[in-house]
Symmetry: C2
Subunit: 202 residues, 2 copies
């Protein structure tokens, strides 16, 4: 039985909904925006800023940031606002994982909890057509095309993950299970993951 399920996901893949359903099925706590708010409270940052920063890092664009700042994996630099947020986020995720069985969405939780043996790390992705339809259904039409919105979100998550973890986002080897929700269907994804969580030794 795995006690912690971390769920990373492509934007529009339905990974967040799948994560919530897994938590329901297993009777686990579920952390997502709650986590954001908790970080916001503790650090004194504004919650809407944190919601962004969880994916995009500091105040300006993550791309310009990542290009102009050495990664935390480099040495010889001072802690900035993004690092402070990261340190706080890491501590909170570690504490939540110790508190009890839970499902944690995003926030590099797979990396933060990498030394625990009781984590199941999941990645949910889907093809572009499925994701484009889903974000328009959920969030409505915007000036930018759905394709553009997907590309931007993916690029941001990828750069953020690389910046903080030194790893490639969406590489199979970072996850124990990666599933295509557009081919398998959300409910099949929920079923597979809950079964594996129950059957796999910690």
């Amino acid at each position: 039985m795995k006690k912690i399920i971390t769920v990373s996901r492509q934007f529009g893949s339905g990974g967040r909904s799948i994560a919530r359903r897994i938590a329901e099925e297993l009777g686990y706590d579920y952390y997502d925006s709650e986590l954001t708010n908790k970080v916001a409270e503790e650090t004194g940052f504004d919650p809407s800023y944190i919601a962004d920063a969880g994916e995009y890092a500091p105040g300006r664009s993550i791309l310009s940031y990542a290009l102009s700042n050495p990664s935390p994996h480099s040495t010889g630099r001072h802690m900035n606002a993004a690092d402070y947020l990261w340190a706080t986020q890491s501590r909170i995720i570690t504490e939540l994982a110790e508190k009890g069985n839970c499902v944690i969405v995003g926030r590099c939780a797979d990396y933060i909890l990498r030394d625990r043996k009781d984590c199941l790390n999941v990645f949910i992705h889907a093809d572009d057509a499925y994701r484009a339809k889903r974000i328009v259904d959920l969030y409505g039409v915007r000036d930018k095309s759905p394709q553009k919105r997907l590309e931007e979100k993916d690029a941001k998550r990828s750069v953020n993950y690389k910046y903080f973890t030194g790893r490639e986002w969406g590489k199979t080897e970072n996850y124990h299970i990666a599933l295509d929700s557009s081919v398998l269907g959300s409910e099949t994804c929920v079923k597979i993951i809950t079964e594996i969580a129950k059957e796999t030794e910690s």
Copy 2:
């Protein structure tokens, strides 16, 4: 019900054994070295050359080859021995898939059959310690360290896949399911994949 299961795998992950077990469970044909021999017969190449070429491309090292030759995705170049092998391999895999339900290991079958809706594309990976132990158990000790053997094989498969498909090997989005056999165990992998193959619509 998915009629074709393609299995790509990291060296030493046990992906080939998992593929064979899936074929047994589903009562599907299984293609691996048989496929190699069939290509060899048809092209007149020596079978041992083909076994290598399936992963490493032409006579000299794939790395030097890939660096000095434009990919088939470029235009304006003539067909060479590797391309001829690729064309033959593509045709044979397409024909085998049309012949009946089967499991196909490696050989970029996921890419070659990408337009079929009845394929389930699987990737099996495992952590380095598990793979290193497994290759020593299976193939014995060599002059090169197990770690070095893993790195070289992975690099070759990755370059080969990129050369012929234009895609990144081991990226989650190329597969419907990616599983870590070192954490989940081989039999759990077999079970998950056979269940999904049965339950997913073509």
